[in-house]
């Protein structure tokens, strides 16, 4: 392993960086005084609800809202026709706030009501009469891809699209990667494994359902408080959807009760804003859990076929992967997700001959979009499952197989980019050691009727993309305010960013104020997504803070009648002359000097775009379709996981006994919060692999409640989830820190199914591994 490398901000000053301090807003949260969107009220505020389509695919023939409008207490009723036809989306603009000519999934919002109270709004929804003509629907993504399948978006070709659409009428996106000569390479393999995998639609289940409060002032300016992942993104998309200039839309972030990708892009902001405009009063729309589950979005379900070949000694030679992701009724982030999924299909290993072909397609189901990992959990599951099968076929230890093929110094990712700090082997060795891998693999079950097994997974992910800004102001008393527009969705970025500012300026954490994101005052930040906040916004904060530091030094030099080169920042907020302990001034003195003597207020401002240095290497990799999104964004990060399970022979139920999760986080700005991110990710991964699945009967979601859709509870997961933080700093990252928000979810599912296979011999190729599926696999094997 290489030694520590240089990072943005150099070595931190003071002890704020790397300190496991409580999050800034911890006290208000434990006291129940943190304000989330639904906790807010405005004078004269109305309550709103929206109506979902009862049909998965139907033409809207007419809509009659007269009865709803006539109900006492109803203040505004809208249908799709009340909006301009301004489509929004990420790369493919196909979505309107409320359906207009057609509905494309059961639950798709078609009308909305604002009323004096929620009960009245809901009652009014029942009075809205919409006449539908049901159309042939398509639910299976494989069928949807056929050329003769019913077209879900007949006007697909007319949508604004930032890449070339594939020819199949329901295709959203196609991506292809080819390296080496896979066709020829199969012949050189001693062992080839091949399998098909089916992965479910996981729902985010952020505990706070989607909520927006909108208010319009007398100049027509709309202010939105909303549970979301980025103020700037919501401002842009809402303005676009409503045909307003962005100068007339202000977005403010209250506390956000979890998001996990589900609150990226738009939720109900344009509809709520339009209701407020129509009613002339503030309107709040908080979705019920059922409405959130049927109307919003999920992780992509997918069908995968993969084949991997190796030499007798375990050297990986070739792999082909073909998959179709179910994008649901609207493109949302589907194109990017499927490109990311393709990009991670090789996993963090050297496989010289690769061929990946991937589609995402429209179906008449809930739209799929970003969810923690963004396509990578699916890719990693398939890749690691293939390695597990290969290890069994080769009679090789799964850890050894991974170590043998792990990316190392000088190796490249699929597409040719350098992997940066190649710490996968270190992660694998670390979990191997912490879990006592070899001996643990031999342990017996705790009781008759149980079988015990241990599984492992290695994985890589990226962080950093697009652009971010930060402004740091020195207050008159020498404290600072950090303003970034980065929304803390619960992961703790307010605290981490404040720690980065504190570490750059040598301040105590309580000398740093983190400003609430507000598009009226905050610099641009893309959004809280893709594990990018610590790296991207953290960098902007470190750079802006460094500017403040430089200006502080200039003012201090004038006050202390010294030269800048002789000065140093001292912990706690003072500037002194190097080597002379009592020659120092507090930041407040420099602030005063700037405000009243010369130069003006001390502020720092950094605005940057992550500009990838290298993209796809055309000499090495042939690509087709949409690959731009993964060509150059992000720095690579690595992790590994070991999971121990027990399987009940009678029921097939899997109990997870213990988890070890090691990650090269570069540098933990706040180790406690990093640990929390990893543990939380692991448990979301346990839900993904064991219990979570949206289940449809045709086009109807049949488990849109927390009663029927089960996320893991406290008694369902082990207390022993060991987060292991490795710190090999990332060059160019703030104090070397990489993003960790998504990482630990990648490896959980394949490590668990690997452990199930170790325990029972049964391979689970369809998630979640419900007791029924596990038992069936065990019986088939017997």
């Amino acid at each position: 392993m290489s030694a520590r490398r240089e990072s943005t901000g150099g070595a931190p000053l003071g002890d704020a960086v790397g300190k496991p301090v409580p999050r800034l807003e911890a006290r208000e949260k434990v006291a129940g005084r943190a304000l989330y969107t639904d906790d807010l009220t405005r004078p004269g505020m109305l309550h709103a609800a929206q109506l979902g389509s009862p049909y998965p695919h139907a033409r809207i023939l007419s809509s009659d809202t007269a009865a709803a409008k006539a109900l006492p207490g109803v203040r505004a009723v809208l249908t799709g026709r009340d909006f301009p036809r301004n489509y929004t989306g990420m790369f493919l603009m196909d979505q309107l706030p409320l359906a207009v000519d057609k509905v494309r999934y059961a639950g798709e919002p078609v009308a909305a009501v604002a009323a004096d109270d929620l009960a009245t709004a809901r009652e009014a929804l029942r009075l809205i009469d919409i006449e539908y003509e049901e159309l042939e629907a398509v639910f299976d993504p494989v069928e949807a891809l056929r050329p003769d399948a019913p077209a879900i978006h007949e006007d697909r070709g007319s949508y604004e699209c930032h890449y070339e659409l594939p020819p199949e009428p329901n295709a959203v996106c196609y991506s292809e990667f080819k390296e080496g000569d896979p066709q020829q390479a199969w012949a050189r393999c001693d062992v080839v494994v091949e399998n098909e995998y089916r992965l479910p639609a996981q729902y985010h289940m952020y505990l706070e359902p989607v909520s927006t409060l909108a208010e319009v002032d007398s100049n027509g300016k709309v202010t939105l408080w909303s549970s979301m992942q980025g103020v700037a993104r919501v401002q842009m998309l809402t303005a676009r959807a409503l045909g307003l200039p962005m100068s007339k839309v202000r977005v403010i972030a209250p506390r956000v009760g979890g998001a996990f990708g589900g609150k990226c892009e738009l939720t109900n902001q344009p509809v709520t804003a339009a209701l407020a405009m129509a009613a002339g009063r503030p309107v709040k729309m908080t979705l019920s859990r059922e409405d959130d589950m049927t109307m919003m979005k999920s992780r992509h379900a997918g069908t995968f076929r993969a084949r991997t070949g190796a030499k007798k000694d375990g050297t990986l030679i070739a792999r082909s992967v073909e998959f179709i992701l179910d994008g649901g009724a609207y493109a949302d982030e589907s194109s990017a997700v499927s490109a990311v999924c393709a990009f991670f299909s090789r996993g963090p290993y050297v496989i010289p001959n690769m061929h990946v072909r991937s589609w995402s397609v429209y179906t008449n189901r809930l739209r799929a979009g970003a969810m923690r990992g963004f396509g990578n959990p699916q890719a990693t599951f398939v890749s690691e499952a293939q390695l597990n099968e290969l290890a069994a076929a080769l009679d090789m230890d799964p850890l050894e197989l991974r170590l043998k093929n792990a990316l190392d110094e000088g190796d490249a990712w699929l597409g040719g980019r350098s992997v940066g700090v190649p710490s996968l082997k270190q992660c694998l060795q670390s979990v191997g050691k912490a879990s006592d891998w070899r001996n643990r693999r031999k342990r017996r079950a705790s009781a008759p009727g149980k079988r015990r097994g241990v599984g492992i997974a290695g994985f890589g992910h990226t962080s950093a993309l697009l652009s971010a800004g930060a402004a740091v102001h020195l207050n008159e008393d020498g404290t600072v305010t950090v303003n970034t527009g980065a929304v803390d969705i619960g992961q703790g970025s307010d605290t981490a960013l404040a720690q980065i500012a504190a570490g750059t300026l040598g301040l105590e954490l309580d000398q740093v104020n983190y400003a609430n994101p507000d598009t009226d005052s905050s610099p641009y930040n893309y959004q809280t997504a893709a594990s990018r906040t610590t790296f991207m916004v953290g960098n902007a904060v470190a750079r802006a803070s460094a500017q403040v530091r430089d200006k502080l030094l200039e003012h201090a030099a004038a006050i202390l009648e010294s030269e800048v080169e002789r000065l140093e920042l001292r912990p706690g907020g003072s500037v002194g002359i190097r080597g002379i302990s009592d020659e120092e001034i507090p930041f407040a003195a420099a602030a005063g000097h700037s405000l009243y003597v010369t130069g003006g207020p001390i502020t720092g401002s950094s605005n940057w775009l992550y500009e990838p240095a290298e993209g796809i290497d055309p000499e090495r990799t042939r690509t087709r379709g949409f690959v731009d999104v993964v060509a150059g964004s992000g720095v690579f990060c690595f992790g590994a996981q070991v999971v121990e399970v027990e399987v009940d022979e009678v029921t097939g139920k899997v109990e997870v006994l213990e988890v070890w999760s090691a990650h090269d986080v570069g540098r933990a700005i706040n180790p406690d919060m990093v640990e929390g991110q990893l543990q939380g990710s692991v448990v979301q991964g346990l839900g993904y692999v064991l219990t979570e699945e949206l289940v449809w009967d045709g086009g109807d979601l049949i488990n849109p409640t927390m009663m029927d859709y089960k996320v893991p509870g406290m008694a369902d997961v082990p207390h022993g989830i060991h987060a292991i933080l490795l710190e090999n700093p990332e060059p160019g990252a703030p104090f070397g820190a990489r993003g960790v928000g998504e990482m630990a979810l990648m490896g959980t599912a394949p490590a668990v199914t690997g452990a199930i296979a170790h325990a029972t011999g049964a391979r689970i190729n369809r998630l979640p591994a419900t007791p029924e599926r596990v038992l069936r696999a065990m019986l088939e094997r017997a």
Partner: protein
């Protein structure tokens, strides 16, 4: 005990059943041509209107314990082979579309001797919305029950109707 080939979770409910009716085929055929007669056999059916050739409207009450719903249903005969078989498509909604019901059904008649007719029916039913989300499994059992009750009522009514 064997294990089913797939465990893909619940799918659409399929009901299949057949029963003997103590009447010749032509009489059974005439009987099932009558919306009023058939409607009277549907459990919870309060009202049937003939609205066109092979098109009916009905109001049906469904009750599962304390859960009650009133469906407005449109039935359309989609296929017919006289004396042999008839297919129907059924769509229904609760007021305000809180729940939706749809079914595709097929009735087949086969003479079983001179005085008896075997009536076979196959139906695929789906219930969505408020009721579908509440215990989809139970709702399907309920639909299955209603199918059985319908068959029994039909058999009884034909038997009781003088030729």
């Amino acid at each position: 005990m064997g294990f089913p080939p797939t465990v893909s979770g619940p799918g659409a409910l399929k009901i299949e059943n057949s029963f003997l009716v103590p009447a010749p085929r032509d009489r059974v055929w005439r009987f099932i041509q009558s919306a009023e007669e058939v409607g009277a056999c549907v459990p919870g059916c309060e009202h049937v209107d003939v609205v066109g050739e092979g098109k009916f409207k009905a109001r049906v009450r469904v009750k599962v314990g304390p859960i009650k719903a009133l469906f407005n249903i449109d039935i359309e005969r989609t296929e017919e082979e006289p004396m042999e078989s008839a297919s129907y498509s059924t769509r229904g909604e609760e007021g305000g579309r809180a729940s939706r019901l749809s079914a595709r059904s097929r009735l087949t008649l086969r003479a079983a001797g001179e005085k008896e007719t075997e009536v076979a029916y196959a139906s695929e039913i789906s219930i969505a919305g408020r009721l579908g989300r509440f215990g989809a499994g139970v709702m399907k059992k309920k639909a299955d029950d209603l199918g059985g009750q319908f068959a029994e009522a039909l058999r009884q009514r034909i038997a009781d109707t003088p030729a």
